[in-house]
Symmetry: C2
């Protein structure tokens, strides 16, 4: 299955849920159809501290072909406030930045040419969070927000700074989304997770970042011939021209041999 380059989406629930209807991960898989495999490694509720436990498992240094690109999308949980409902997810600002640096360094050690795209957390709609808590717990819902937009913004800034420092592409989701009036409800469905429109923003930004890093889908090779290039009477020609005679894998690829095998 090692035919196509892989792009891995590493992150928290906003990555884990990216294959839900309208999700940015599924859209990316469609954008890179027959060009690259999009592999989702999203872990709902995780912060960067917990994600470090997975790093070597998901990205082993001695593994097979490393991915051509990885998105790192954490921060929404690191930015949870101390003393509030979800405080166990909190990671101090400096440690957050250090953890991200460790991830990037590890990935660059795995493959110096890997395109690593850092994605800052989206803004927080505190009213949306409150409504969501009430819809779940009614009047028992927590009175104090577990996240504020302002604090999440400080985490987003660390992302942006780190990306500049390490000279890698960065998507400042927190800032980009707030440029659109009504971002609170149009981009966030519960004050934190993305609506289809919000997913669209992330998808566009990721495509733009990958394009800028030399991984534009249009310039990547299609795996196997387009059907219009196949001659109905002599289909073998199109497949031979894909490297049958030179690949050394003649048994699998040449029609005259393939017919013996399949």
């Amino acid at each position: 299955m090692a035919i196509r380059p892989q792009m891995v989406l590493f992150g928290d629930s906003i990555t884990e849920q990216s294959f839900r209807p309208g999700g940015w991960g599924a859209a990316l898989a469609d954008s890179y159809s027959r060009k690259a495999d999009i592999v989702v490694r999203g872990y709902g509720g995780y912060n960067t501290r917990w994600a470090l436990f997975l790093l070597h498992q998901i990205f082993p240094l001695s593994g097979p072909t490393p991915p051509v690109a990885v998105t790192i999308f954490f921060g929404a949980n690191d930015a949870v406030l101390l003393g509030r409902q979800s405080e166990k997810q909190h990671v101090p600002l400096n440690e957050y930045k250090d953890n991200l640096r460790k991830m990037i360094s590890h990935l660059k050690e795995m493959s110096p040419n890997m395109v690593v795209v850092l994605i800052a957390p989206p803004p927080v709609d505190e009213d949306g969070r409150e409504q969501y808590a009430k819809s779940l717990y009614g009047e028992k819902a927590r009175k104090l927000p577990e996240r504020t937009n302002e604090v999440t913004g400080t985490y987003a800034r660390q992302c942006v700074e780190l990306a500049e420092e390490m000279q890698i592409p960065c998507i400042d989701t927190w800032s980009v989304m707030q440029q659109t009036e009504g971002w609170q409800k149009s981009f966030l469905r519960d004050g934190l997770h993305l609506t289809e429109e919000g997913n669209g923003v992330v998808h566009s930004e990721v495509v733009r970042a990958l394009n800028g890093a030399g991984l534009a889908a249009e310039e990547m090779q299609l795996d196997f011939p387009h059907h219009s290039a196949i001659d109905g009477a002599h289909p073998e020609i199109a497949f031979q021209s894909q490297g049958c005679s030179s690949s050394g894998d003649i048994d699998a690829f040449c029609p005259e041999n393939a017919s013996d095998h399949i």
Copy 2:
């Protein structure tokens, strides 16, 4: 990246497009979130004859861990009529069945325990095809349909028969869809390709087939601990219990070592 089992979707455009909004492939990726990777190998316009050229490339006998499941979803192009616009895609009925048999045999040779799900082509809405052709070519559009529902039905029956013969699960999309009144427009967007509702039907049927074959997502292991199982003060405990001490891969997994490495 070999942490999760893989499920491969092998087919024509109806598989290639399965990560578009509302697509059955993306929905499957979401259904198996953190349980299995859904790998799409769809090739628009391909029939089973052309697909055989790819078989050993996509599914090498000597490759790494084989997929746990593969869906084979061809027939919509094999069933194109001779003497019509797209006749180069036509594959005779008997050859179609033989080609599918070769695919299934190859996959079972690759891994006898692999769950192979055969998917019959969807029905054809001839009126929908004609409208679509007119929308593209106006009055120059072909007058005769390149596919008929009746002929596609004969291909679907070959699928069903072959699956019984080889004792593998089969989804008779052609019959299932026609049980719903108004299937022509509700399940097919151009008389051939799936609407979101049509994608929903395929998704449900694939999930049902996988459940029936012992691959229910609910019974598969989550990769890495759920966040609710992580102790904020001692996160290492949750990760150790995932096999740190027994995996032999201590460097990567144990926090005390991990901190040296990441």
